[in-house]
Symmetry: C2
C-alpha cells in the first residue's frame, strides 16, 4: 500500500495499553494526516511503500506532547515577577496593564515556537484576545484547543485591593462571552479539525452564577469542554466565601458544574474531600507543577486526585509565572514534587508522568479519540527524539530499559529533533518549517520593549522587585 512517510528502525513509544507501549525496532506509517500503521520495522517496510522513508536508528518516535493549560499571550512579560508574594498584583500587574491585543499575539507566537521546539504539539490555550491569537496556530501548524477568557470584572482588576469583593459588570461579561462564541463559530473544527474550541470562564470568583450557567449551556450546545481555574488560590476562596458563603468546589457542585465537560485547573487550595469530589464527579484536573511551585510554593493534590480515580493532565501555565513552557520540565516537576510532598521516592513513577502529557492528557482534554498515542487511525502528531544526545545516553534495553526514566528525569526538550502535527513536519532538524523563528522572536522583543517603557512610569516606587533591582540581584 502507498503511504506518504514511513519512519523505521526506531524505538516507538506508542503509549497504548496501561504502560507506555514501547516497541523496539518499530516503525510508523503515515498517510495524509493520519497514522496508517504502527508495527515492527520489517513488517511495515514489507507492507508499505512511501514517498519518504526516514531511518530513525538510535531515535525514539513518540506521541506529540499535550500542554493542557497555557496562556501563550502572557509570555510577552516572561520573568518579571518571580520570588515574591502576591505575584499577580505586585509583579505582573505593572506590566500586564500595558499589554495590548497585538502584544498578546506576538507573545503567543514566541511562546508557541518555544513549545513546539520542545515537543508540544497540542496547546490548550486559555487567554484573553484569543481571536487574535488563534491565527498563530493556523500559521505554525500546531494543534490547538483554545478558549477565550470570560469574566465580568473590569480591566483595572489588578488595582483592586486584596480582600475587596470584585465588582461584576454584566456588559463586560457579555462582551467576553460573545468573543468566546465568535471563536467557537469561526474556529471550532477549523484547519482540518486541527483547531477546536472550548468555553473559558476565568474562575468561579470572577463572574456571576448566571453567567457561569450560561457558559455551561453553551458547552452543551457546542458539545465541548469548559476550561476553568478552580480553587487556584486563597484569593479565589476568600471571594467565594464572602460572596456565597461557600468555597469554590462545593459551590460549583451545587450549580452542577462538576462533570465530565469540566477541566478544573490547579485545585491548589482544594481540600482532600474537595479533590475527591471533583474526581468522583468526572471532571478532569489540570496540574501545573512548575507554575504553582514558583508562584505559591505549593504542590497541588495531583497524586490524591489520581488515587481518587480522576482523569488528569499537566499544563505549563503562563511564562511570567512558570517562566518556561516545556512539558519535559512539567513531567519532571510533577514526579519529583509529588515524591517530596509524600517523602516517597517510589511514588509517581516516570511512566505516569509521561501518560499525563500524552494519552491521559488527550483523554482529559477531550481529544482521546484523536491524539495522545500512536495507533492506526489517530492523527499523526508525533516527535522524533535523538537518543544519542548525552542526556539520553547510553540507551540500555535489558534487563531494565532506561528510556522512559531518562525522558522524564533527564531530557531537557532540546533532544526533540522533529515535530509532526496532522501528518506535516512543522519542525525538522530543530528548525520550525512554517514560520521564520528569528523574525517572530524579534517582533516579540519589540513588543516587550514597548510594554517595558510604559511600565517604567507605572511601577510602584516601593515595589519589592525594584528594591531587588537596586540591590543588584536582577
Amino acid at each position: 500500500m502507498n503511504v506518504d512517510i514511513i519512519i523505521t528502525n526506531a524505538f516507538v513509544l506508542t503509549m497504548e495499553g496501561k504502560g507506555v507501549g514501547m516497541m523496539e525496532d518499530g516503525a510508523v506509517a503515515i498517510k495524509d494526516n493520519l497514522i496508517e500503521a504502527v508495527g515492527r520495522s520489517e513488517d511495515i517496510k514489507q507492507s508499505y511503500s512511501a514517498a519518504e522513508e526516514i531511518d530513525a536508528t538510535g531515535k525514539l518516535v513518540m506521541p506529540g506532547l499535550i500542554d493542557a493549560h497555557i496562556h501563550t499571550g502572557l509570555a510577552i512579560v516572561r520573568g518579571v515577577s518571580q520570588d515574591i508574594n502576591n505575584w499577580m498584583q505586585e509583579g505582573n500587574w505593572p506590566f500586564m496593564k500595558h499589554v495590548s491585543a497585538d502584544h498578546h499575539q506576538k507573545g503567543s507566537m514566541m511562546n508557541i515556537i518555544e513549545g513546539v521546539k520542545v515537543g508540544t504539539t497540542t496547546f490548550c490555550d486559555y487567554d484573553s484576545h484569543m481571536n487574535d491569537i488563534v491565527p498563530n496556530y493556523a500559521k505554525i501548524g500546531a494543534r490547538a484547543r483554545v478558549a477565550e477568557l470570560i469574566n465580568e470584572i473590569p480591566a483595572d482588576i489588578g488595582d483592586i485591593p486584596v480582600g475587596e469583593l470584585y465588582p461584576f459588570h454584566a456588559e463586560i461579561g457579555d462582551r467576553k462571552l460573545q468573543n468566546n462564541i465568535r471563536l467557537l463559530e469561526q474556529w471550532h473544527g477549523a484547519e482540518n479539525g486541527r483547531i477546536t474550541c472550548m468555553l473559558g470562564p476565568h474562575g468561579p470568583d470572577m463572574m456571576s452564577r448566571e453567567l457561569l450557567k450560561e457558559v455551561q449551556a453553551l458547552a452543551e450546545k457546542y458539545d465541548t469542554n469548559v476550561h476553568m481555574h478552580v480553587a487556584q488560590g486563597d484569593r479565589e476562596i476568600e471571594q467565594m466565601v464572602k460572596r456565597y458563603g461557600k468555597r469554590s468546589i462545593p459551590f460549583l457542585d451545587e450549580i452542577g458544574y462538576l462533570n465530565e465537560r469540566l477541566l478544573a485547573v490547579h485545585l491548589t487550595e482544594a481540600t482532600k474531600e474537595e479533590t475527591e469530589l471533583v474526581a468522583k464527579r468526572g471532571a478532569a484536573m489540570i496540574n501545573c507543577s512548575g507554575s504553582i511551585g514558583i508562584i505559591d510554593g505549593i504542590v497541588p493534590p495531583l497524586h490524591e486526585f489520581i488515587e481518587a480515580g480522576g482523569s488528569a493532565a499537566l499544563g505549563s501555565d503562563q511564562a511570567p509565572g512558570n517562566n518556561c513552557n516545556n512539558m519535559f520540565n512539567e513531567m519532571k516537576f510533577a514526579a519529583i514534587l509529588n515524591k517530596v510532598k509524600h517523602t516517597d521516592p517510589a511514588m509517581f513513577p516516570a511512566h505516569l508522568a509521561l501518560r499525563l502529557v500524552t494519552i491521559d492528557a488527550a483523554e482529559a482534554v477531550g481529544l482521546g479519540e484523536e491524539v495522545g498515542s500512536l495507533k492506526a487511525g489517530k492523527k499523526a502528531d508525533l516527535l522524533i527524539v535523538d537518543l544519542a544526545e548525552p542526556s539520553l545516553s547510553p540507551v540500555i534495553t535489558s534487563p531494565i530499559r532506561n528510556i522512559v526514566p531518562n525522558l522524564v528525569y533527564s531530557a531537557k526538550g532540546s533532544e526533540v529533533e522533529a515535530v509532526m502535527v496532522d501528518g506535516q513536519f512543522i519542525m525538522r532538524e530543530r528548525r520550525l518549517q512554517t514560520v521564520d523563528e528569528t523574525n517572530e522572536l524579534q517582533a516579540a522583543q519589540a513588543a516587550a520593549r514597548e510594554i517595558s517603557q510604559s511600565a517604567e512610569c507605572t511601577i510602584h516606587p516601593e515595589s519589592v522587585l525594584l528594591k531587588r533591582m537596586e540591590a543588584g540581584e536582577l
Copy 2:
C-alpha cells in the same frame, strides 16, 4: 594593550558584589588563560586590541558553572534505577557490580561532555577509578577538582543485607588511600593548574576512625579539601549509631572533622541542630536537589544551612540517581524545592541559586580565588548564552530585568552556545572543540551494552524494576 580575545556588546553577569553584578553593554578581555579586564564595551574596545573580537550582541557572558558533586563514571548506567525504594541495592547494584575501570572512564567521558554542553566548566568529580577518569579532563579541557573514593568496605558491599554492620578491611582502605595519594602526586596542579585534587573519604560509615584521621592529615599536608558524603541517608546514620553510638555529625565533630577543609555532601538526614553545627564549624554544604528528590523524596536543609551562615554549593550527583547532570536543572530544583518545603514563594530567590553554582560554589570548594566570577586576574572560565532562544525571550531590562529569573527558572542549558575554560574555547556553536562527541558517545554506548549483558544474569528475578518491565511501564 594586546590581548587574545575580547567579547563585546554583551550582557555581562560578573557575579561580583553581593548580587549578580550585571553589566549591560559590557565586555570581557582575555589574555592567555586569564581575564584581563571586564568593563563597558566602549572602554574595553578603546583600551585593548585583540586577535579575535566576538560581537555578543543579544547574548549573555557569565562565569562557567561549578558542579560541586558529581560521580561521572557512574553515568554509564544512567536511568536503570528510578522510582523505587532502596535505590542503591535494588536498582543500581545489579548493574554496578559489572562496571569496570574502563567502563567508568567511558561513562565519565560521556558525562563530562553532557556537562560542558550545558555550561559546566568545573567538575568536583568524586569517584572510584579516578586515576583512570582524570585524563578525560585533560583531554576535554574542562576544569576539575577531583577525589578518589576511599573506603574500607569490600567490593560486594551491595550484597550485604541492609541493617548489617559493614565489615572494614584495612588492606582495602590502604589500597584506596594510596590511589588518592597517587592522584594527588600526579595531578594536583596539573594542566596549568586546571586540575586539582582533594581527598575523597566515602562517608563516615564506610571506614574506620583511624583511616578518617589519616585522610585528614593528608588534607593538611597537601593543603586541600576533604570531599565526603555526610548524613547522606538513614543507612549511614544506622551504621554510625550501631558502631559508635553516635550519629554522623556529632561523631565527626568529636574527631575534629567539621572545619573549613570539609565539603559535607548531602546532609539529607541532618537535624536542624546538626545542620547549624556544620555551618558554625565552617565546613561547606554541597546540596544535590535533583538527586535527593528522586532517590529519597527529601529536600535537604540547604535553606537552613545558609540561614545559619554556611557556605554552600550545588551538585548534580550521579546520573543513575538524578538522571541528568545539568546545573541549570539544579538551580531550578534548589529554588523550587525550598519554596515548597517552606510554602513560601519569596524564599530562595533566583540570584541565590545562581550564586550557588558560581561565586559561592567557587568559595565553597576552595577555588574562590580562581573562578566563579568575571574579574580581572581570575581564570577565564566563561559561557556565552544566547538570549534570543525562545526560552530566554524577550529580554526586558527596565523597570525590572528578567534575565536572572529566566536563567534559573526557564533555561534548559541548551541556550549555552560557547564554553571557555582557562582561556580556551572548549565548545563553540554548541560543539565540543577538543573531542569527537560522536565517537565518545558511541564508546560509552558499547560499554553500556557489555554491562547490560552481564546484568541480565545477575538481576534478582523478584526485582521491582523487572516487574515494571513486564508491566510495560519502562
